[in-house]
C-alpha cells in the first residue's frame, strides 16, 4: 500500500475512532440525565398517542422554569410489549427511566419488584384529590399509592339510537346483556364485543364477572401459590354463561374470535351496527371518518352511549377500567423532580387538554366540568359515571399469568362452557402460578 494511502486510511480510522468515542461519551452523558446546560433532564417513557404526552412534556418543561426538562421516549404500541421493555430495563437497574406511562394491570408487578420509587405522602395527597376511585385503585398496591393517576379509560355501551328505539329499549335506564341480545336478534344487528385472544378478552371477562358481583381473584396474595381464584364462584359461572350466550347469539358477526376494539368499531360503523361495548375513542373515530368521507354524518348522529350493560337486572354493572398512570423509576437519579413533574403532567388543565385533543379521558373528575371537554365529548358525563362504577382488572404481580390463563381457556368465546371452563381455567392458572405448567 502506498504511504499516502496508508496514512489516509490511518487518519480515517482515527477519525472513526474519535467519532465512535464521542458518540459513546455523548450517550453516556445522556444516560446521566443532565442536559448540556446542567439542567436535569427527565426522560418520560410514553405509550404511543397522538402527540399529547409530548406536548404536555413541553408545557411542563416551560412551567419548570429551568429546574428540569422533560423529554419523551415512545414505547411499543401494545401495553404488554411496553411492560416487557420496561421490565427488562428496570431489572438491569436502568437509571435513565425517570417517568413511565404504565398500563394499570402491570403496576402491582412493578411495585412488588421494587421498580417504582415510593410516592411521597404529600404528593399522594395532592395527586389523588378529585380523582375517580377506579383510577386510585388502579394506582394502588398493597394498600399504598405506588403510581400517580393520569388518564382513565372506560368502556361504554354504544348503541344506535334508531336501533334501540325500534327494539323498544329504554336506554335511559340500565340495560342487561340479555336485553341487548334479544334486541339485536329482533333487529338483526351486530353486538360488538372483543373476543380476540388478547388482553381485550380479559377486559371483557373481568367486566362480566365484576358485574356479576365476583372477582377473578377471590383472595389475593404476594405468594403466587396462595392466590385463590373466583372463577368457579356463582358470579364466575354466570359470567361464563353470559359470554357464551353473546358469542352464540348469532349477532356477533363471523369474526368474534379475532375481534378487537378497532374491528368492532368498524362493525359498528357498518349498516349492521347496533350495539357495542368499547372505549370512547369510537366517537372521534366516527367523526374523522365523516371528515374523510367514508362515513355518513347521519350514522354518527345516530351514535349514543350509556353505562356498560348489567349481567343481572338490578345489579349495577362494573365497567372496565383502563388508561395510564405514571410510575417513577426506582433507579432514577431525580425521583423528587420526577414526582414534581407528574403533578404538572396530571394537572387539571393538562388532563383537559389531553382529553380534548387526544380523546383520552381524565382521571380528575373536575375536568368533566370543562366546557371544552363537554363540547368535544357529549358523552363526557357518562364516561365520568362509568369511571366511578368501573372495576380494575385483578391487582396482582402475576397478572400476566392470570390474564394469559383466562385468554387461553375462554378463547374462542363460543367454546366457553359454564360447566367446564371456569374449572379448567382455575386448574390451569393455579398450575401456572405453581410453575407446574406452561402458558
Amino acid at each position: 500500500m502506498p504511504r499516502t494511502t496508508r496514512t489516509r486510511v490511518r487518519s480515517r480510522a482515527k477519525l472513526l475512532g474519535a467519532g465512535a468515542a464521542a458518540v459513546v461519551a455523548a450517550s453516556g452523558l445522556a444516560a446521566c440525565g443532565s442536559s448540556d446546560s446542567g439542567v436535569p433532564e427527565l426522560v418520560w417513557y410514553t405509550n404511543p398517542d397522538s402527540g399529547g404526552q409530548a406536548e404536555i412534556a413541553s408545557r411542563c418543561t416551560d412551567a419548570a422554569q429551568g429546574r428540569y426538562t422533560i423529554s419523551t421516549a415512545v414505547l411499543p404500541r401494545e401495553a404488554s410489549a411496553q411492560r416487557e421493555q420496561l421490565v427488562r430495563r428496570l431489572a438491569a437497574n436502568d437509571s435513565s427511566i425517570d417517568i413511565m406511562s404504565l398500563d394499570p394491570p402491570f403496576i402491582p408487578e412493578f411495585a412488588q419488584a421494587g421498580f417504582l420509587a415510593p410516592v411521597p405522602d404529600d404528593v399522594a395527597d395532592r395527586v389523588t384529590e378529585d380523582v375517580v376511585e377506579s383510577a386510585i385503585e388502579g394506582s394502588t398496591w398493597d394498600g399504598e399509592l405506588v403510581a400517580v393517576p393520569f388518564w382513565a379509560n372506560t368502556q361504554l355501551l354504544w348503541y344506535r339510537t334508531s336501533v334501540a328505539e325500534a327494539a323498544g329499549l329504554d336506554m335511559t335506564q340500565p340495560v342487561t346483556w340479555d336485553q341487548i341480545i334479544t334486541a339485536a336478534q329482533d333487529q338483526d344487528v351486530l353486538i360488538g364485543v372483543q373476543g380476540i385472544r388478547a388482553e381485550a378478552l380479559t377486559v371483557w371477562f373481568n367486566a362480566l364477572i365484576e358485574s356479576a358481583g365476583g372477582s377473578i381473584i377471590a383472595e389475593n396474595s404476594t405468594d403466587p401459590e396462595q392466590i385463590e381464584l373466583g372463577l368457579t364462584s356463582e358470579a364466575g359461572i354466570r359470567a361464563a354463561e353470559v359470554m357464551r350466550n353473546i358469542a352464540t347469539s348469532g349477532q356477533v358477526g363471523p369474526a368474534l374470535s379475532t375481534g378487537n376494539e378497532d374491528s368492532t368499531a368498524t362493525g359498528f360503523e357498518s349498516d349492521q351496527g347496533g350495539f357495542m361495548v368499547n372505549y370512547p375513542f369510537v366517537y372521534p373515530r366516527g367523526l374523522a371518518a365523516v371528515e374523510a368521507g367514508t362515513l355518513d354524518q347521519a350514522t354518527v348522529d345516530d351514535y349514543a352511549a350509556t353505562i356498560y350493560p348489567q349481567v343481572d337486572a338490578g345489579t349495577e354493572a362494573a365497567p372496565p377500567y383502563g388508561g395510564i398512570n405514571l410510575g417513577i423509576g426506582a433507579f432514577s437519579e431525580h425521583t423528587d423532580l420526577a414526582y414534581e413533574a407528574t403533578e404538572c403532567i396530571t394537572s387539571t388543565e393538562n388532563q383537559a387538554y389531553y382529553f380534548v385533543t387526544n380523546g383520552n379521558p381524565a382521571s380528575d373528575s373536575t375536568v368533566y366540568e370543562d366546557q371544552a371537554v363537554l363540547d368535544e365529548f357529549p358523552q363526557a358525563p357518562v364516561i365520568l359515571e362509568s369511571l366511578q362504577q368501573a372495576a380494575p382488572r385483578p391487582q396482582t404481580p402475576y397478572y400476566s399469568e392470570v390474564s394469559g390463563g383466562i385468554q387461553r381457556e375462554y378463547h374462542p368465546p363460543s367454546s366457553v362452557d359454564p360447566e367446564q371452563t371456569p374449572q379448567s381455567a382455575t386448574e390451569l392458572i393455579e398450575a401456572v402460578l405453581r410453575k407446574e405448567q406452561l402458558l
Partner: protein, 320 residues
C-alpha cells in the same frame, strides 16, 4: 461348508505423513488460516456459545426476572414440567407441520424458479433474479403484516377476490380457526423464503457440467431422463444443503405467528412458546429450558441431515 478368506494384508506404512514432514509453507498457511479465522471463531463463541451455555445454566433454576432474590436451583425440574405438558407437544407438532409443508413446497417451487433463472435469456437474467429475490428482501414482520392485512376479514381483499372458490366468502375468518390460520402462515413463509431456496438450487444447477447434458442429449435422453439421471444426481449436495438450511430456519418460525395469530387457535410454535415463558411470563428458568430443548431439536435435525443423508457442505460449496 468352506469359507474363503482373503490373505492378510501386508503391513504398510501409515498413509499420513509424520508431522515433521509438514513444510514450512504449509505451516505458514496453517498459521495464516488460524489468524484469519481465529477472530471470527472467537466472536462466534462469544455470541453463540456463551448465550447457549448461559441459557442452559439458567434453565436449571427457578428464576423470575422480577424476583431475582428468590432464585433457586431446581435441577432438571423445568425440563420435566415442559416435557410432561401437552402444550409443548402441540407446539412441536405445529412446528413440525409448518416445517414439512413449507420446506416441501419451497423445494418444488424453488427448483422451478432456479430452472427458469438458469435457462432465462442472458439479457433478462439479472432482472429476473432481482425480481425473484424481492420477497426475501422484505423483513419477515413486514411480510407477516402484509399477509395478515390481505386475509383480514375486515380490511383484506382475499375474501372478495377469491369468493368464487368454494368455502371462501365475505364471512371467512382465516385467523379464527387452526387450519386456515396455519394455511396463511405457511403461505406467508413460502412466499418469503422460496427465493432463498431457489438461489441455493441455482448455485447447484450451475455446477452441473454442460458436457454431461450434451452427452445425454446426443445419446437420445429425454428431458425427464436428463433431469433424473444427470441434473439431480449432480446437484444432490446443493439440494441437501438447501433443505438443511431451510428446515433449520423453518423450525424456528416465530414472526408470522406472532403477528398473525399470537398463538391463538393452537398455532403456537416452539419458538413462540419460549417467547411466552421468557419474555411475557418473565420466567427465565422455564423459558431457557424451552430454548435449550429447541436448540437440541435443531441440532438433531442438523445431525440427521449431515450424517443420515450424508450432506457434504464442502461439496455444495464447490470445493471438491
Amino acid at each position: 461348508m468352506s469359507t474363503t478368506t482373503l490373505p492378510p494384508a501386508p503391513k504398510t506404512e501409515p498413509v499420513s505423513k509424520p508431522k515433521a514432514l509438514i513444510s514450512d509453507r504449509a505451516k505458514a498457511e496453517r498459521k495464516l488460516g488460524w489468524l484469519l479465522a481465529g477472530p471470527a471463531l472467537a466472536v462466534m463463541l462469544l455470541v453463540t456459545a456463551y448465550p447457549i451455555a448461559q441459557a442452559f445454566y439458567d434453565s436449571l433454576f427457578d428464576y423470575r426476572l422480577t424476583d431475582p432474590d428468590n432464585r433457586s436451583f431446581t435441577g432438571l425440574s423445568n425440563y420435566v414440567v415442559i416435557l410432561t405438558d401437552q402444550l409443548w407437544w402441540t407446539a412441536i407438532g405445529v412446528t413440525a407441520l409448518i416445517t414439512v409443508i413449507t420446506v416441501a413446497v419451497e423445494l418444488v417451487l424453488g427448483f422451478a424458479l432456479a430452472m427458469v433463472m438458469n435457462k432465462a435469456l442472458r439479457a433478462i437474467r439479472p432482472f429476473l433474479r432481482a425480481v425473484i429475490l424481492i420477497p426475501y428482501a422484505v423483513i419477515t414482520v413486514v411480510s407477516a403484516f402484509a399477509w395478515q392485512f390481505a386475509f383480514d376479514i375486515n380490511t383484506g381483499f382475499v375474501n372478495s377476490w377469491f369468493a368464487w372458490i368454494p368455502g371462501v366468502g365475505a364471512d371467512t375468518d382465516w385467523f379464527g380457526d387452526t387450519g386456515t390460520s396455519l394455511f396463511v402462515i405457511c403461505l406467508a413463509e413460502i412466499w418469503k423464503t422460496t427465493p432463498f431456496i431457489s438461489l441455493l438450487l441455482l448455485a447447484g444447477l450451475a455446477q452441473v457440467p454442460e458436457v454431461l447434458q450434451e452427452a445425454a442429449q446426443v445419446d437420445g435422453a429425454t428431458w425427464w431422463q436428463r433431469m433424473r439421471r444427470v441434473t439431480l444426481p449432480n446437484m444432490k449436495a446443493a439440494i441437501m444443503v438447501a433443505l438443511l438450511f431451510r428446515t433449520l430456519d423453518a423450525f424456528r418460525v416465530f414472526d408470522s405467528i406472532f403477528v398473525m395469530t399470537a398463538g391463538a387457535n393452537n398455532t403456537e410454535s416452539v419458538s413462540f412458546l419460549a417467547y411466552r415463558q421468557t419474555i411475557s411470563r418473565l420466567e427465565i428458568g422455564l423459558g431457557s429450558a424451552v430454548s435449550v430443548l429447541l436448540f437440541i431439536v435443531v441440532v438433531l435435525i442438523a445431525f440427521t441431515f449431515i450424517k443420515g443423508f450424508k450432506v457434504d457442505l464442502a461439496q455444495a460449496r464447490g470445493d471438491s
